[in-house]
Symmetry: C2
Subunit: 554 residues, 2 copies
């Protein structure tokens, strides 16, 4: 069976964020965002208490799926339909808790093979049904929902039964993996043989290979292993034009690349069933070092210098001052993180008296490879850090960061339980514009907080460095007003952030895709003609608008 | 004014291949391919002796272009139309010398700005004319010709007036460059400020940035700088949907990437006017070292090991035994190459007595970067070479290779003058399949030579290494029979090579694109459904089939 996340929130049932062991956190978030971590949580309703609209699937459609996939793989119960109606965006979490299910899928189908996937698409097209592919359901930009006004039957196609590593070519250093494999599924299978895909997005535990490809995902170690667009060397996709299977070769000069069109297609071209991906031998050494910089500007300059150096770290990350303060506030009493960071702070203070401690910025740099290359890269990075006024505090905080890196999304549910909203927005821009993007986005968010009259907080880190620029990942939170709909406030703030990306030389998203949440910026990002070309591609492949209609472009 | 290559052959007027200073070459090619380098060359006709069909451009179409671009930028003279009717494939050279001009363009237009390019496209679409963008004209896969049966007016749009480096961002390490810039145009402008694009295809001197993008080109130093697909970070393209301008950012998660759709589009989506490309500071050190391996298999294994190592060379190249013999035969009497290679051979022979000298393989590895990294990489590579039974012969041959690297295409005209045909075909495949692709391609070519009853020769080198595989670049030549059309023999041989690529796990082209020459393999390469998707994209963007109809897919 395919396991799913909580219908009302992130991750596994029984796992939640808690802060009792982090004594500084509650006072910190109260101060900066007016969020009361000690408030009693609102009660999340039972699904049975909510009014779940019935499936509208015509019986003949259900019967056709049952015949093709088996009765046990065609679901129309409330829970399964609710789980598949949205992803896990802030808007999704709020709506689902309210019992606002949007246009629920009428059926959830679970093909077990590529041939069954082809049959499922054929059935959907013949019945003029809408079909929306579903991986782990972790999407946060509204890529998984049918249009509210959709009158045709809606089918969610869950690829979760197709999760095997089919083959591993140790010479070519590639693996053929089924699209429904969750991060842990494929990583465990690869690790057992001494290999890794090297792709670790925040959503890793609850997202699939197919989902990564469909949204152009990036993992935390992309500096070394590349984004999913680099990692994916061939795809198999069930489309209305038939089964697309591109050659398993490193590089092709075969017209506009179909492999690349599938990257970021969010189900609009078909259902990804399998991909051939680059894999790497598990590294001899792997360590994440922590550093402090005097301020964000010097941190950014250091990351730029590292990207331009002979070193090839796996992670380059630096938090701005606000995020650094937040991270320091999350340290446990008596923990390695707490001790090391406090030591860092003290060292810093003693070394550089007179500098503003509130401006200092925490950085994590990951090293991975042979012992020789790790040693060399650490030395090279150490010199660059020093040159930019920073200093190292060892590998303790990095180890902890590494252990906890997939826990962050649980916080959103925790604060939502306390009447607060929090979300993320990320962009990429050139090294030239990074600092102004940062400052203008922060200013835009603060202006939006002020305009709507809420207390809010925004912080940011740089991650994912490239030759010409990097990604900046913003997190924002605010205590929702009680006199208005929190989602309206959310829209204003999120909209201000996104518009500031575009206005300052950034893109609407570095690695979270477009979906419906970012669609209103697509023409500003890739130009109206560019959006027209994307639309022409979708219309040509799927003239009936049966495949995830409304995602990316109208 | 825009300068063009010879109408009947490669490169500049007055420049040609000659062999008088290479005493071993004529006997060598006579032995292996029956080609008589000392035969008197056939006379290439004057253009005036040939029957050039008149322009069929309606006067109102010509007038519209004249109004938009100025009379001096709208040409319909024979020479300009003949120069623009083909690229420089073997088939093109043969046809043009025969006076078989195919469907000549009726007009050649030279817009000087993006706005003029937009006007030109508008005029063409309104008149239902066919428009074919033209860069340097170096294409060898038939990407530049109108269908022979085309009854609509045909316009060749030459981007050669748009050749400026518009801006250089030294922080972002990107440059905005106009699409019509030839390799030397842009490299000289960048070099003057201490930068390089790092893209050096064989055609460098006669190909443009726009052409590189339109065909997904790769340069010799792609191991370090990436293929043009990696180098190109944003594009501006005049399309029937309007002006496409993608954001100048490192990475985007904005649906199927329009930037990527433009890569390899061969004019079918519009006219590329400008791109933002990655640039690099001219390296502190740059050297190409030569090595010998006992045989091709050990050379391939060494390249694989280098690609997997901590070294990051700019060039990894190893010739098979046949290509090595050819290269040795090209050495000049008393030259550095001759001396060093002979020394190499002798060293080899004396060191490894009893091994087959006819099997040894020449390799060039390029190093580029800081003095420290070059030294380190040379050490790492040296160890790998030794481990695979190879040995180094210094940097002399590499220096010569570097100086002469753009001269190779001139040889085709030389041998064509002697009644022989020669061409190249290249593919990429995984490290696992490289050797079998090589052996089976060579076998397929030899079988084809035997079947058609000609004496022929094929050799190969690996170049362009990736994580999962590499490119193999084959060169073949044969003495054309006098009793049949040489192009028929050529088709048989070239077809056998291409089919062997596909049948053995390779792709139809690593970096020369599809055009019309490789079109018959596209469905085998990206699957019929994949070709259908590419076709749907073209049909959606250009429903009237006005843009380079017939290229890539039907």
């Amino acid at each position: 069976m395919v396991e799913h996340m909580k219908w009302w929130g992130w991750g596994q049932e029984g796992v939640a964020f808690h802060h009792e062991d982090k004594p500084n956190l509650a006072p910190f978030v109260m101060k900066v965002a007016g969020i009361d971590f000690d408030a009693p949580p609102v009660r999340v309703p039972e699904l049975s208490e909510l009014d779940v609209p019935a499936s509208r699937a015509p019986e003949e459609l259900r019967a056709a799926f049952v015949e093709a996939l088996g009765a046990e793989h065609v679901h129309d119960d409330d829970l399964d339909r609710v789980v598949h109606t949205y992803g896990k965006s802030m808007r999704d979490l709020v709506r689902i808790r309210r019992g606002d299910f949007g246009r629920l899928p009428d059926l959830v189908v679970y093909p077990g093979t590529e041939a069954e996937t082809e049959a499922a698409l054929r059935i959907a097209l013949e019945a003029d049904a809408v079909l929306i592919p579903f991986g782990g359901g972790s999407n946060i930009v509204g890529s998984l929902e049918a249009p509210r006004e959709e009158t045709r039957p809606v089918v969610s196609l869950d690829v979760g039964r197709m999760r095997a590593v089919l083959s591993l070519d140790e010479t070519a250093k590639t693996a053929r993996i089924q699209a429904g494999a969750l991060g842990p599924d494929l990583e465990e299978q690869l690790n057992a043989r001494g290999w890794t895909i090297g792709h670790f997005p925040d959503s890793f535990k609850h997202s699939t290979l197919g989902g990564w490809i469909a949204t152009r995902s990036s993992g935390m170690q992309s500096d070394r292993f590349g984004d999913i667009a680099d990692i994916t060397r061939a795809v198999r996709v069930v489309t209305p034009k038939g089964l697309v299977a591109t050659a398993e070769v490193p590089v092709q000069s075969t017209g506009p690349s179909v492999r690349e069109m599938v990257l970021g297609s969010e189900g609009r071209l078909g259902i990804i069933t399998e991909a051939t991906v680059q894999v790497h031998r598990l590294a001899e050494e792997r360590v994440i070092q922590a550093y402090f910089f005097p301020d964000y500007a010097s941190g950014l300059k250091a990351m730029h210098a590292i990207a331009a150096s002979d070193a090839s770290p796996s992670i380059t990350r630096v938090s701005d001052a606000n995020e650094t303060q937040f991270t320091l506030a999350t340290s446990k009493k008596g923990s390695t993180l707490g001790q090391l960071l406090n030591k860092g702070v003290q060292l810093y203070a003693s070394k550089r008296k007179g500098m503003d401690l509130s401006q200092m910025c925490l950085s994590f740099i990951g090293f991975e490879g042979s012992a020789t290359s790790v040693r060399r890269d650490k030395t090279l990075v150490g010199e660059i850090v020093k040159k930019h006024g920073g200093f190292g505090v060892g590998s303790g905080p990095g180890t902890l960061y590494d252990q906890k890196k997939f826990d962050t999304p649980y916080i959103r549910d925790f604060i939502l339980d306390r009447g607060a909203y929090g979300d993320v927005s990320e962009t990429s821009s050139s090294w030239t514009t990074l600092k102004s993007v940062h400052d203008n986005v922060v200013a835009a968010a603060e202006k939006a907080f002020a305009e709507v009259g809420v207390k809010g907080f925004i912080f940011c880190h740089l991650s994912h460095s490239y030759h010409s620029g990097a990604c900046q990942y913003f997190t924002f939170a605010f205590q929702a007003p009680t006199d208005r709909d929190g989602l309206e406030v959310y829209d204003t703030v999120k909209g201000a952030i996104q518009q500031a990306f575009i206005d300052n030389g950034g893109t609407l998203s570095h690695h979270h895709a477009v979906g419906r949440e970012h669609k209103r910026w697509i023409e500003q990002d890739i130009s109206p003609a560019g959006a027209g070309i994307v639309g022409a591609l979708f219309a040509g492949v799927d003239p009936g608008r049966n495949l995830n209609p409304g995602a990316i472009v109208d």
